[in-house]
Subunit: 297 residues, 4 copies
């Protein structure tokens, strides 16, 4: 045999768990999409088809529902921590686990000027993410968000860039800057108020995006990341992926019209994609927690 099984993991992806708290007439709701992946002594399942160490993915799904009942969902990070630690500590063949949670936000409907007790509206396209990895005795919590679409209608330029024989782009000192942001940030520990810290990080990023006069999306990301690192002591690393959702100034001169930054075509593809990894000085790396497999959902 010339082939070797180098690594493997398996789990249940996208279990849609909705948890209602109805202890009082004023309900609460948490709406999650839970994925788990287990690592451990599962090589025989691959090599010979022996399933004796394999806890079915269906069981992992059942656990997600049962934990939502027993422990509730204090936050997506806490929920992922509980599940991941259960997998590693309570299932003998499991040596490592990763639990990814997406949370969809709901806001209360307003009726006669007051928030309703049990009626909800899905708010935003934005998805909150939490990823907990327990491996080699280390627990890493990465919080984040994706699909946060933000736009500045001025306060952004793009000039002074490198030009070669394939460059046709014109410089501009006033453009629309828009992105559908993916941001993830790693916490130093696990003992924090995840909901409050999430809200704080998000507010800092939005404020930094709004107030910096942007010379490039790169500069904006760096500014957002450093503001988070400086203002939130629990955060040791921030990673961004920001598609530059191009809004092209439409040429209206053929119709005898000026267009001083008023009418834009919002293009689909292609798009720029700007990425950055910003770390707190002296932070311990956590590469394993950041690694993504070829089929990451």
């Amino acid at each position: 045999m010339t082939a070797r099984l180098q690594s493997h993991q398996y789990g249940k992806a996208e279990t849609r768990v909705v948890r209602i708290v109805r202890d009082t007439p004023r309900h609460e709701i948490r709406d999650l999409n839970v994925s788990s992946a287990l690592r451990g002594d599962f090589a025989p399942a691959y090599l010979t088809g022996d399933q004796s160490a394999v806890l079915p993915t269906d069981t992992q799904k059942n656990m997600a529902f049962a934990y939502a009942k027993v422990h509730g969902v204090e936050s997506p990070e806490r929920f992922a921590l509980l599940l991941a630690e259960h997998f590693v500590h309570d299932i003998a063949p499991v040596s490592g686990a990763r639990v990814d949670v997406q949370e969809y936000a709901w806001v209360r409907a307003t009726v006669d000027g007051a928030e309703h007790d049990h009626t909800w509206i899905r708010s935003g396209q934005e998805v909150r993410t939490a990823s907990v990895t327990v491996d080699d005795g280390t627990t890493t919590v990465i919080a984040g968000l994706k699909d946060l679409t933000v736009l500045k209608s001025t306060g952004s330029e793009f000039t002074g860039f490198l030009k070669d024989e394939y460059t046709t782009l014109q410089e501009t000192d006033d453009r629309v800057l828009a992105t559908s942001l993916i941001a993830q940030w790693r916490y130093a520990g696990t003992d924090l108020d995840f909901d409050a810290t999430y809200a704080k990080v998000r507010a800092i990023m939005l404020s930094a995006f709004a107030t910096l006069h942007s010379l490039a999306l790169q500069q904006t990301l760096w500014h957002m990341g450093t503001q988070v690192i400086e203002q939130v002591s629990e955060v040791v690393e921030v990673r961004f992926a920001a598609p530059n959702k191009h809004h092209f100034l439409q040429d209206l001169r053929p119709f005898g019209l000026e267009n001083p930054g008023e009418v834009f075509w919002a293009a689909d593809r292609p798009y720029g994609l700007i990425e950055a990894v910003i770390v707190r000085d002296g932070a311990t790396p956590a590469d394993a927690a950041w690694s993504r497999s070829v089929g990451a959902p």
Copy 2:
């Protein structure tokens, strides 16, 4: 020849027009997806390939951008009215036109407790729709929304239904009721404040959804529709399509756990689909404006 060209239309679909108003430092934004379809003397283009009466779809796209500059976007309905009337009145071969506009909402970012002048966040998955049809001398305006996802965590039951030999569903006197609502409503005229009326209709529908103790999604739709008809005199017809986004109570008994309406599985497919057409007594029908072709986007 045994075949006959019975009807036809052509146009440009999904032109993504973003209009910024920057007359003062406090900008405004309207973000539209514009589709137009023209009817008229275009049979030769089909029968012999003669394009002499065919205004290119590319030109229709150009018009959308030019009109956004010249007229601005007071509301999606008004913008669609202007374009549709231009097509019919100014392009000789055009006898009828339909303009569909989707609008995506943005809210101002909050920085240091204040709304920012030129930074925006995409709000909600919900899409506002406007459809204007000009044909046979008649102009019809249909406003609407889609992808408004709402959920009640109590106040809904489903009992007393018909049972046959294929029925296995259990009755329930307390369930989660959720839908991703499509609602469209037709106005009697064109001389109204479209933005204000849209907001009013939406608020009435949400309030009706929230406050009715629901015996069925059918009943909820009827209640929402009649409230709109009764409270908004400009509306003469309301059409609903409401997918019943099933939230199944997860069975936790195998794990020794009760589940009194707390943990649900949010299922994808299949889903119930409930539809209703509610009209104001005495309203003139407008079937042509409601008709959708086989490839409606």
Copy 3:
């Protein structure tokens, strides 16, 4: 009360039924997405919440699975016919029904040069559609397909079109013509070999698309439709919706390169949308079977 319930229907959408025939080691597979909508005496469900005439959508789902077992899936049209007639004839409050079926195609995997008995590969993005409406004593079968993406790399031009002050498009006598076709055709009766006729119609349309030198997509659609009407006697009506998937010739002159129809940018949006309804002379109309509600999936 000033509001009136004008019409309504309800049903189960997108039940994913997979039927395996395993009577011999050489299996067969049919993979369906089934949606049903019922009309009848259901007004009380809307007006007062009385469900006593309402057969749950869950029951409709159960029927789809049970019918797949008992009757098999001879073709999507036959399966839809059986279900629709059952609803109307066997469920007392039901006066009309529409059953829409999408079928996904699978081809046998090839192993050592031979087709495998029970291993399948999903073939194509193309979806076959069937829609059966039973109402007012009339049964109408509409067959079709969608997402059939076809492209001609020459043999298409677009010249001689109408020009106005908003027209900037250049004429071209050789362009890429591509569309993601939606086609639906209505049969005169129900007593035919649906699978064989489907294959015949599809082949005729593709041949017509390929061989006509196209002066416009409109002309191509008319040619495809008339060929079907003339060659397939069972078809009395064809409806097309053809998005013109623009392939723009990329301007390479800034880099000192010619581009004689070799390098194109495949754009997403906007796109032209060309539609046509072609009928056999003397055919009885069937508007009700073609009508689509505001929330048609």
Copy 4:
């Protein structure tokens, strides 16, 4: 300053390049989605907004089109190689590059029993992928595919698995096994016939999937991977991500019907996700080429 820019990259994503070869009346077509990401001396763009070393993403897009003209598209791997090497060798600030290419397949339309010269049908949902990384003087080529949906209607079981207090799944000795496969494989070098090798790897994987009596999807993946390693000497590593697309046997007993593996419900979510990394003994690792950033498209 307590924050540090640890790493960064930027580029143009999803440039849709279609290349027609029309040297003879029998055309050829290659349909690509090209994404590039550059690494190098771009820190000033982040830290101070200085763009003087930044080649615009728009220029990267232009290059993709120009290279399609000048070099053609021999294969997606070769095309990605040419682009990646150009970025690293010819753009001074660039020290590393990654080019990802997706290819969509087209087959010739058949007209009167013969393949047509210039009419094409999009074939399959399956996407071919190529990823070339040039960094630190090393060039790595990873070929692959995604969305290859395969299904076995027998020849698969799942028994003997681990059970705990959350396990409710029943064992089965005959089930439907289906997956939408993601497979990527790394080549030892760059001097090979990429199209022929791709076809060979794909055929081996399909044959292995079909012929192994599967005790688990894990075993099937291992079998597929080892067959590739053993039969294709150029491949040094294979990575799989295989969602277990569950087909649940529908319970028809309430209707008095048996269901011996004939009628299934094809579920959407959740799904199992099985992953494996299989390497040739003695192969040099190439972790950098496999790493994916948080916003990988």
